[in-house]
Symmetry: C2
Subunit: 142 residues, 2 copies
DNA sequence: ATGGTTGCAAAATGTTTGCAATGGC
DNA sequence: GCCATTGCAAACATTTTGCAACCAT
Protein backbone atom coordinates (compact mmCIF):
# COMPACT_ATOMS: atom_id res chain seq x y z
CA UNK A 1 0.00 0.00 0.00
CA UNK A 2 1.36 3.43 -0.86
CA UNK A 3 1.65 6.41 1.41
CA UNK A 4 -1.22 8.33 -0.05
CA UNK A 5 -3.59 5.43 0.40
CA UNK A 6 -2.54 5.04 4.01
CA UNK A 7 -2.94 8.71 4.62
CA UNK A 8 -6.42 8.60 3.23
CA UNK A 9 -7.21 5.60 5.36
CA UNK A 10 -6.06 7.53 8.40
CA UNK A 11 -8.05 10.58 7.41
CA UNK A 12 -11.18 8.49 7.00
CA UNK A 13 -10.64 6.76 10.30
CA UNK A 14 -10.19 10.03 12.10
CA UNK A 15 -13.27 11.57 10.55
CA UNK A 16 -15.39 8.53 11.22
CA UNK A 17 -14.52 8.99 14.86
CA UNK A 18 -15.58 12.62 14.79
CA UNK A 19 -11.98 13.72 15.18
CA UNK A 20 -9.99 16.09 13.05
CA UNK A 21 -7.32 15.65 10.46
CA UNK A 22 -4.76 18.22 11.53
CA UNK A 23 -1.43 19.14 10.05
CA UNK A 24 0.31 17.76 13.11
CA UNK A 25 -1.32 14.39 12.74
CA UNK A 26 -0.44 14.37 9.10
CA UNK A 27 3.21 15.20 9.81
CA UNK A 28 3.49 12.48 12.41
CA UNK A 29 2.00 9.89 10.12
CA UNK A 30 4.39 10.92 7.38
CA UNK A 31 7.36 10.58 9.68
CA UNK A 32 6.23 7.15 10.73
CA UNK A 33 5.85 6.08 7.15
CA UNK A 34 9.41 7.22 6.51
CA UNK A 35 10.72 4.81 9.06
CA UNK A 36 11.12 1.35 7.70
CA UNK A 37 11.39 -0.75 10.79
CA UNK A 38 10.82 -0.15 14.46
CA UNK A 39 10.82 3.06 16.38
CA UNK A 40 10.60 4.40 19.88
CA UNK A 41 8.44 7.42 20.55
CA UNK A 42 11.31 9.47 21.90
CA UNK A 43 13.28 8.85 18.70
CA UNK A 44 10.29 9.95 16.73
CA UNK A 45 10.06 13.11 18.80
CA UNK A 46 13.74 13.77 18.25
CA UNK A 47 13.47 13.18 14.51
CA UNK A 48 10.56 15.59 14.33
CA UNK A 49 12.41 18.22 16.34
CA UNK A 50 15.44 17.91 14.06
CA UNK A 51 13.35 18.50 10.99
CA UNK A 52 11.77 21.51 12.67
CA UNK A 53 8.33 20.08 12.22
CA UNK A 54 6.16 21.99 14.66
CA UNK A 55 4.78 19.13 16.71
CA UNK A 56 5.08 18.65 20.43
CA UNK A 57 5.93 15.52 22.34
CA UNK A 58 2.44 15.34 23.79
CA UNK A 59 0.91 15.35 20.34
CA UNK A 60 3.17 12.57 19.21
CA UNK A 61 2.06 10.43 22.12
CA UNK A 62 -1.58 11.28 21.53
CA UNK A 63 -1.36 10.55 17.83
CA UNK A 64 0.40 7.26 18.40
CA UNK A 65 -2.53 6.20 20.53
CA UNK A 66 -4.94 6.96 17.72
CA UNK A 67 -2.79 5.08 15.25
CA UNK A 68 -2.62 2.17 17.61
CA UNK A 69 -6.38 2.13 17.99
CA UNK A 70 -6.69 2.28 14.26
CA UNK A 71 -4.33 -0.66 13.99
CA UNK A 72 -1.78 1.08 11.81
CA UNK A 73 0.97 0.77 14.34
CA UNK A 74 1.55 -1.95 16.88
CA UNK A 75 3.19 -1.81 20.18
CA UNK A 76 5.64 -4.57 19.52
CA UNK A 77 8.02 -4.72 22.35
CA UNK A 78 8.35 -3.60 25.89
CA UNK A 79 11.98 -3.68 26.76
CA UNK A 80 13.85 -1.76 29.42
CA UNK A 81 10.72 0.18 30.27
CA UNK A 82 10.43 1.53 26.81
CA UNK A 83 7.73 0.88 24.27
CA UNK A 84 8.81 0.17 20.75
CA UNK A 85 6.38 0.52 17.90
CA UNK A 86 6.30 -0.60 14.33
CA UNK A 87 4.04 0.05 11.44
CA UNK A 88 1.80 -2.94 10.90
CA UNK A 89 1.58 -3.17 7.18
CA UNK A 90 3.42 -6.36 6.80
CA UNK A 91 2.33 -9.81 7.73
CA UNK A 92 2.37 -10.54 11.40
CA UNK A 93 5.74 -11.50 12.74
CA UNK A 94 7.57 -11.79 16.01
CA UNK A 95 10.93 -10.70 17.34
CA UNK A 96 14.34 -11.87 18.43
CA UNK A 97 15.91 -9.25 20.66
CA UNK A 98 19.61 -9.20 21.33
CA UNK A 99 20.24 -8.39 24.97
CA UNK A 100 23.78 -7.34 24.12
CA UNK A 101 23.45 -4.94 21.21
CA UNK A 102 19.71 -4.33 21.35
CA UNK A 103 19.14 -5.25 17.73
CA UNK A 104 15.77 -6.60 16.77
CA UNK A 105 15.34 -9.36 14.24
CA UNK A 106 11.98 -10.21 12.78
CA UNK A 107 10.73 -13.65 11.97
CA UNK A 108 7.42 -15.20 11.22
CA UNK A 109 6.31 -18.72 11.69
CA UNK A 110 2.89 -19.78 10.58
CA UNK A 111 2.94 -22.80 12.89
CA UNK A 112 3.23 -20.65 15.99
CA UNK A 113 0.23 -18.58 14.97
CA UNK A 114 -1.80 -21.73 14.53
CA UNK A 115 -0.81 -23.12 17.88
CA UNK A 116 -1.83 -19.90 19.52
CA UNK A 117 -5.27 -20.08 18.00
CA UNK A 118 -5.58 -23.61 19.23
CA UNK A 119 -4.69 -22.58 22.75
CA UNK A 120 -7.11 -19.67 22.76
CA UNK A 121 -9.91 -21.99 21.73
CA UNK A 122 -9.05 -24.30 24.59
CA UNK A 123 -9.37 -21.48 27.09
CA UNK A 124 -12.38 -19.80 25.54
CA UNK A 125 -10.16 -16.78 25.05
CA UNK A 126 -10.76 -14.34 22.21
CA UNK A 127 -7.34 -13.18 21.00
CA UNK A 128 -6.81 -9.63 19.83
CA UNK A 129 -3.08 -9.32 19.45
CA UNK A 130 -0.05 -11.08 20.68
CA UNK A 131 3.59 -10.56 21.17
CA UNK A 132 6.30 -13.15 21.12
CA UNK A 133 9.69 -11.91 22.16
CA UNK A 134 12.73 -14.11 22.32
CA UNK A 135 15.60 -12.56 24.20
CA UNK A 136 19.14 -13.78 23.70
CA UNK A 137 22.39 -13.17 21.90
CA UNK A 138 22.43 -12.53 18.19
CA UNK A 139 24.75 -14.03 15.63
CA UNK A 140 27.04 -11.01 15.52
CA UNK A 141 27.45 -10.72 19.26
CA UNK A 142 28.29 -14.34 19.88
CA UNK B 1 11.55 -27.48 45.81
CA UNK B 2 10.91 -26.29 49.35
CA UNK B 3 11.48 -22.84 50.71
CA UNK B 4 14.55 -23.67 52.71
CA UNK B 5 16.27 -25.17 49.69
CA UNK B 6 15.49 -22.11 47.63
CA UNK B 7 16.74 -19.85 50.36
CA UNK B 8 19.97 -21.75 50.48
CA UNK B 9 20.27 -21.56 46.75
CA UNK B 10 19.86 -17.79 46.96
CA UNK B 11 22.37 -17.53 49.77
CA UNK B 12 24.92 -19.48 47.77
CA UNK B 13 24.32 -17.43 44.66
CA UNK B 14 24.75 -14.21 46.55
CA UNK B 15 27.95 -15.34 48.20
CA UNK B 16 29.40 -16.68 45.01
CA UNK B 17 29.00 -13.20 43.62
CA UNK B 18 30.81 -11.65 46.57
CA UNK B 19 27.56 -10.12 47.80
CA UNK B 20 25.98 -10.36 51.20
CA UNK B 21 23.07 -12.29 52.55
CA UNK B 22 21.22 -9.63 54.51
CA UNK B 23 18.05 -9.82 56.54
CA UNK B 24 16.32 -7.56 54.03
CA UNK B 25 17.15 -9.83 51.15
CA UNK B 26 15.96 -12.79 53.14
CA UNK B 27 12.66 -11.09 53.99
CA UNK B 28 12.02 -10.16 50.40
CA UNK B 29 12.71 -13.65 49.18
CA UNK B 30 10.34 -15.03 51.82
CA UNK B 31 7.60 -12.68 50.76
CA UNK B 32 8.04 -13.68 47.15
CA UNK B 33 7.86 -17.33 48.06
CA UNK B 34 4.59 -16.64 49.84
CA UNK B 35 3.03 -15.40 46.66
CA UNK B 36 1.74 -18.18 44.50
CA UNK B 37 1.28 -16.53 41.17
CA UNK B 38 2.31 -13.24 39.69
CA UNK B 39 3.16 -10.01 41.40
CA UNK B 40 3.98 -6.42 40.70
CA UNK B 41 6.78 -4.78 42.59
CA UNK B 42 4.58 -2.08 44.03
CA UNK B 43 2.25 -4.72 45.44
CA UNK B 44 5.22 -6.43 46.96
CA UNK B 45 6.33 -3.17 48.52
CA UNK B 46 2.84 -2.62 49.90
CA UNK B 47 2.66 -6.13 51.29
CA UNK B 48 5.97 -5.65 53.00
CA UNK B 49 4.94 -2.31 54.44
CA UNK B 50 1.73 -3.82 55.79
CA UNK B 51 3.60 -6.55 57.58
CA UNK B 52 5.93 -3.96 59.04
CA UNK B 53 8.92 -5.69 57.58
CA UNK B 54 11.68 -3.10 57.65
CA UNK B 55 12.61 -3.01 53.97
CA UNK B 56 12.54 -0.02 51.69
CA UNK B 57 11.22 0.24 48.19
CA UNK B 58 14.70 0.74 46.79
CA UNK B 59 15.88 -2.48 48.35
CA UNK B 60 12.96 -4.38 46.91
CA UNK B 61 13.86 -3.17 43.45
CA UNK B 62 17.51 -3.94 43.98
CA UNK B 63 16.82 -7.40 45.30
CA UNK B 64 14.45 -8.20 42.48
CA UNK B 65 17.25 -7.45 40.08
CA UNK B 66 19.49 -9.93 41.82
CA UNK B 67 16.77 -12.56 41.82
CA UNK B 68 16.18 -11.94 38.15
CA UNK B 69 19.86 -12.34 37.40
CA UNK B 70 19.86 -15.52 39.40
CA UNK B 71 16.89 -16.73 37.40
CA UNK B 72 14.60 -17.26 40.36
CA UNK B 73 12.10 -14.73 39.17
CA UNK B 74 11.18 -13.81 35.65
CA UNK B 75 9.91 -10.62 34.26
CA UNK B 76 6.91 -12.11 32.60
CA UNK B 77 4.81 -9.35 31.30
CA UNK B 78 5.07 -5.75 30.40
CA UNK B 79 1.62 -4.32 30.29
CA UNK B 80 0.48 -0.74 30.73
CA UNK B 81 4.01 0.30 31.61
CA UNK B 82 4.14 -2.02 34.54
CA UNK B 83 6.42 -4.98 35.00
CA UNK B 84 4.90 -8.13 36.39
CA UNK B 85 7.09 -10.81 37.85
CA UNK B 86 6.61 -14.41 38.75
CA UNK B 87 8.70 -16.98 40.48
CA UNK B 88 10.16 -19.36 37.97
CA UNK B 89 9.97 -22.67 39.71
CA UNK B 90 7.40 -24.22 37.53
CA UNK B 91 7.82 -25.40 34.01
CA UNK B 92 8.04 -22.62 31.49
CA UNK B 93 4.70 -21.31 30.39
CA UNK B 94 3.20 -18.34 28.63
CA UNK B 95 0.31 -16.00 29.26
CA UNK B 96 -3.11 -14.99 28.08
CA UNK B 97 -3.87 -11.49 29.29
CA UNK B 98 -7.39 -10.18 29.41
CA UNK B 99 -7.46 -6.58 28.26
CA UNK B 100 -10.78 -6.06 29.98
CA UNK B 101 -10.30 -7.39 33.50
CA UNK B 102 -6.51 -7.72 33.51
CA UNK B 103 -6.53 -11.33 34.59
CA UNK B 104 -3.64 -13.49 33.57
CA UNK B 105 -4.07 -17.08 32.52
CA UNK B 106 -1.12 -19.41 32.19
CA UNK B 107 -0.68 -22.04 29.56
CA UNK B 108 2.13 -24.12 28.27
CA UNK B 109 2.57 -25.70 24.93
CA UNK B 110 5.56 -27.83 24.23
CA UNK B 111 5.18 -27.38 20.48
CA UNK B 112 5.66 -23.64 20.70
CA UNK B 113 8.87 -24.06 22.66
CA UNK B 114 10.18 -26.40 20.01
CA UNK B 115 9.32 -24.07 17.18
CA UNK B 116 11.13 -21.28 18.94
CA UNK B 117 14.27 -23.35 19.20
CA UNK B 118 14.03 -24.14 15.56
CA UNK B 119 13.76 -20.45 14.66
CA UNK B 120 16.68 -19.49 16.85
CA UNK B 121 18.83 -22.07 15.13
CA UNK B 122 17.88 -20.65 11.78
CA UNK B 123 19.04 -17.21 12.81
CA UNK B 124 22.11 -18.29 14.72
CA UNK B 125 20.49 -16.72 17.77
CA UNK B 126 21.24 -18.01 21.24
CA UNK B 127 18.00 -17.75 23.23
CA UNK B 128 18.05 -16.86 26.89
CA UNK B 129 14.43 -16.28 27.76
CA UNK B 130 11.28 -15.53 25.95
CA UNK B 131 7.89 -14.11 26.53
CA UNK B 132 4.73 -14.93 24.67
CA UNK B 133 1.79 -12.78 25.56
CA UNK B 134 -1.59 -13.15 23.94
CA UNK B 135 -3.87 -10.21 24.61
CA UNK B 136 -7.60 -10.56 24.25
CA UNK B 137 -10.86 -11.12 26.08
CA UNK B 138 -11.17 -13.93 28.58
CA UNK B 139 -14.02 -16.37 28.93
CA UNK B 140 -15.65 -14.50 31.79
CA UNK B 141 -15.56 -11.12 30.13
CA UNK B 142 -17.04 -12.22 26.82
C1' DA C 1 38.21 -3.24 59.39
C1' DT C 2 36.54 -3.61 54.76
C1' DG C 3 33.51 -3.14 51.39
C1' DG C 4 28.93 -4.27 50.11
C1' DT C 5 24.08 -2.70 51.68
C1' DT C 6 20.51 0.15 53.30
C1' DG C 7 17.12 4.00 53.53
C1' DC C 8 16.09 8.22 52.12
C1' DA C 9 15.09 11.59 49.08
C1' DA C 10 16.19 13.27 44.76
C1' DA C 11 16.62 12.25 39.99
C1' DA C 12 15.69 9.97 35.90
C1' DT C 13 12.58 8.04 32.53
C1' DG C 14 8.51 7.35 30.01
C1' DT C 15 3.89 8.79 29.60
C1' DT C 16 -0.38 11.36 30.63
C1' DT C 17 -3.12 15.40 31.64
C1' DG C 18 -5.24 20.23 32.78
C1' DC C 19 -5.84 24.33 30.70
C1' DA C 20 -5.91 28.35 27.83
C1' DA C 21 -5.16 29.43 23.13
C1' DT C 22 -5.73 27.74 18.46
C1' DG C 23 -7.68 25.88 14.34
C1' DG C 24 -10.64 22.29 11.49
C1' DC C 25 -14.96 21.83 9.68
C1' DG D 1 -18.96 29.27 16.03
C1' DC D 2 -18.43 24.80 17.96
C1' DC D 3 -15.67 21.61 19.76
C1' DA D 4 -11.63 18.88 19.07
C1' DT D 5 -6.68 19.79 19.25
C1' DT D 6 -2.45 21.79 20.44
C1' DG D 7 1.60 23.15 23.32
C1' DC D 8 3.23 23.80 27.55
C1' DA D 9 4.35 22.64 31.91
C1' DA D 10 3.00 20.15 35.64
C1' DA D 11 1.66 15.72 37.20
C1' DC D 12 2.21 10.82 37.30
C1' DA D 13 4.11 6.23 37.64
C1' DT D 14 7.86 3.33 37.71
C1' DT D 15 12.51 2.60 38.44
C1' DT D 16 17.26 4.11 39.46
C1' DT D 17 20.83 6.46 42.00
C1' DG D 18 24.01 9.40 45.22
C1' DC D 19 25.28 9.49 49.69
C1' DA D 20 26.02 8.91 54.59
C1' DA D 21 25.17 5.61 58.06
C1' DC D 22 25.19 0.73 58.76
C1' DC D 23 26.20 -4.19 59.00
C1' DA D 24 27.75 -8.95 57.29
C1' DT D 25 31.84 -11.22 56.97
Amino acid sequence: MNKEAIKKQFKDFVKRKGLKFTSQRESILEEILNVKGHFEIEDMVKRIKEKNIPVSRATVYRTLNILKEMGLVNEVIKYKNKTIYEISLKQHHDHLICTKCGSIIEFSEEEIEKLQDKICKEYGFKPETHRLEIFGICKNCR
